[in-house]
């Protein structure tokens, strides 16, 4: 298990990306929805091996699932069709709507969970470095990695602000409405403070010669290993196999 874990986590970022791509594209190629619904399960399995179960489940359930359910209901009610299954006042659920919803949400869930998986098993800095090696400009990768790196920091900051408001008597716990009411006022100082520090951030970068025109070096060593080749070849074979099976047989 431990070996499998390091095997997955140590894959080169682009290899991980190919896995993700594979998990995203194959549901779109294959008919039906069974396979598509299998993809999130597969992702969960990989996340489990990688030791990221909790984070993965958290994001997929809290974020993705609510969106999926919303889309499902909307489509079930409003997709045009004649086979009415159930009616309430002017609203009715149609068989065509259900069919379409199942198809659509299966794909969204598959693509969504593949993306979530990618960011769970790939370190941001590894990703940024591999992009740099591919020739993406360091400025672009800086924006990417600072944006992604700042999310946990912003979260902490937001919690601190909300904490401060709590001590001033603002209710922050309870039902959704109370939470939202507490959330939005906290956003203002968060956004303002992040604006005021962009200036100094720019000077910081300038002080560290970020804009120097010399070719940068990096302590961050990324290496492709045999595992990467194995995984890539396997993915390619599987993919070709699926293509042939889907379009030529």
């Amino acid at each position: 298990m431990e070996k499998l874990r390091t095997f997955i986590l140590n894959l080169y970022p682009t290899t991980k990306f190919f896995i993700t791509l594979f998990l995203m594209i194959t549901p779109l190629l294959l008919p039906g929805y069974l396979y598509s619904y299998l993809v999130p399960v597969l992702c969960l399995f990989i996340a489990m091996i990688a030791g990221k179960t909790k984070l993965f489940v958290d994001i997929v359930f809290k974020g993705l699932l609510s969106i999926v359910i919303m889309i499902f209901l909307l489509q079930a009610f409003f997709y045009p069709g004649d086979t009415i299954l159930w009616t309430w006042k002017i609203f009715s659920i149609k068989q065509e709507g259900i069919d379409f919803s199942v198809q659509l949400t299966s794909k969204i869930l598959a693509v969504g969970s593949a993306i979530v998986l990618f960011f769970q098993i790939t370190k941001i800095n590894d990703l940024a470095r591999s992009l740099e090696i591919l020739g993406v400009s360091p400025k672009a990768t800086y924006v990417l990695s600072s944006a992604l790196n700042i999310i946990p920091e912003m979260r902490m900051h937001l919690l601190r602000i909300m904490d401060a408001q709590k001590t001033r008597g603002v209710e922050t716990e309870g039902n959704l409405r109370i939470r939202l009411k507490a959330f939005f006022p906290a956003l203002t100082p968060l956004i303002l403070s992040s604006f005021s520090s962009t200036d100094e951030k720019a000077i910081t970068l300038e002080s560290r010669a970020f804009t120097a025109r010399t070719k940068k070096t990096s302590l961050h060593q990324l290496e492709k290993t045999k595992s990467d080749s194995v995984v890539r070849v396997l993915l390619l074979i599987l993919f070709v196999f699926i293509l042939i099976w889907r379009f030529f047989l």
Partner: protein
């Protein structure tokens, strides 16, 4: 012509309503240690920004007069050459983090990576700075999760590791305890011994007396007094600009009021002991 020359410099921030620097004239000699002192809002940070070229390269506003770095106007310098020539550790330690590095070690290495220094050399230099500043115990920590004092040390390390000729430190010890402050001063002193030019904004007068070669007193955007540390800090009326003198100087000044005249006015502890001993032996007191 090495060093910095400032001629008739005046400056007003784009958002400000009046000038914050008035007709500044200053020569900064290579390899010497200059301390900028003065009350809050006196213009110390602004002057540092001008010298480093952030004004007018980065902050606009109305600037007149000239600032010459090694004989060349700071406005004609290429910004990336300036970054290598002058290091600037600024006042707020909390924003001086690249935001893209996961460990303190990598954070300190960031500047050298940008300069394209070879990886093995980077590792060695970073290691040297880490042991110089005694921050080995945090080298694997996330830079975002440090205390204010630790961030301040990392900010300092990140700049001096790049080995610029001129080092500007804007209150680099504001978050540090007395021991931490002392350590930073020792590190700065080592930089000076390596031949670097040091510009330091600092309120801790005892340490300035100990380490600085020259003191520049700023108030309301003007240079009120400048000269050798032992001259500026031994003048009673330096206090008029909100600068506290060291206790050794104050003692001597008090003695003078009572007609106990020593040979010179000391500003440091060691000099004070020497001066007092001499004075006592002159008075016939056995030490």
């Amino acid at each position: 012509m090495s060093g910095i020359e400032i001629r008739n410099l005046s400056y007003q921030y784009p958002t400000g309503s009046e000038k914050v620097l008035h007709n500044i004239n200053l020569n900064i000699e290579s390899g010497k240690f200059y301390a900028f002192v003065g009350v809050n809002g006196g213009g110390k940070t602004t002057l540092c920004n001008v010298i480093r070229g952030f004004i007018p390269h980065f902050f606009k506003g109305d600037i007149s007069g000239e600032v010459l770095i090694d004989g060349k106007d700071v406005r004609d310098w290429d910004t990336s050459d300036l970054a290598q020539k002058m290091g600037f550790v600024f006042q707020n330690p909390f924003t001086q983090i690249s935001g893209v590095k996961e460990t303190v070690f990598d954070e300190i290495a960031f500047g050298l990576e940008n300069l394209g220094v070879e990886v093995s050399v980077i590792k060695q230099k970073v290691q040297e700075i880490i042991s110089l500043l005694g921050i080995g115990y945090i080298q694997d920590k996330n830079p975002n999760e440090l205390s204010g004092g630790q961030k301040q040390r990392v900010a300092l390390a990140s700049i001096i590791v790049m080995e610029p000729d001129i080092l500007i430190f804007d209150e680099p010890t504001s978050q540090l305890d007395p021991q931490g402050t002392e350590e930073i001063f020792k590190a700065i002193d080592i930089m000076k011994k390596k031949g670097k030019t040091i510009i330091l904004v600092e309120h801790k007068i005892e340490l300035i007396a100990e380490y600085a070669d020259y003191v520049i007193v700023l108030q309301d955007g003007q240079i009120m007094r400048q000269g050798r540390t032992e001259d500026v800090l031994s003048h009673e009326d330096t206090q008029d600009y909100g600068i506290g003198l060291t206790q050794y100087t104050l003692l001597d000044l008090q003695m003078r009021k009572h007609n106990m005249i020593t040979e010179r006015i000391p500003i440091t502890e060691s000099d004070s002991i020497k001066v007092m001993k001499e004075w006592m032996s002159l008075q016939g007191v056995k030490a």
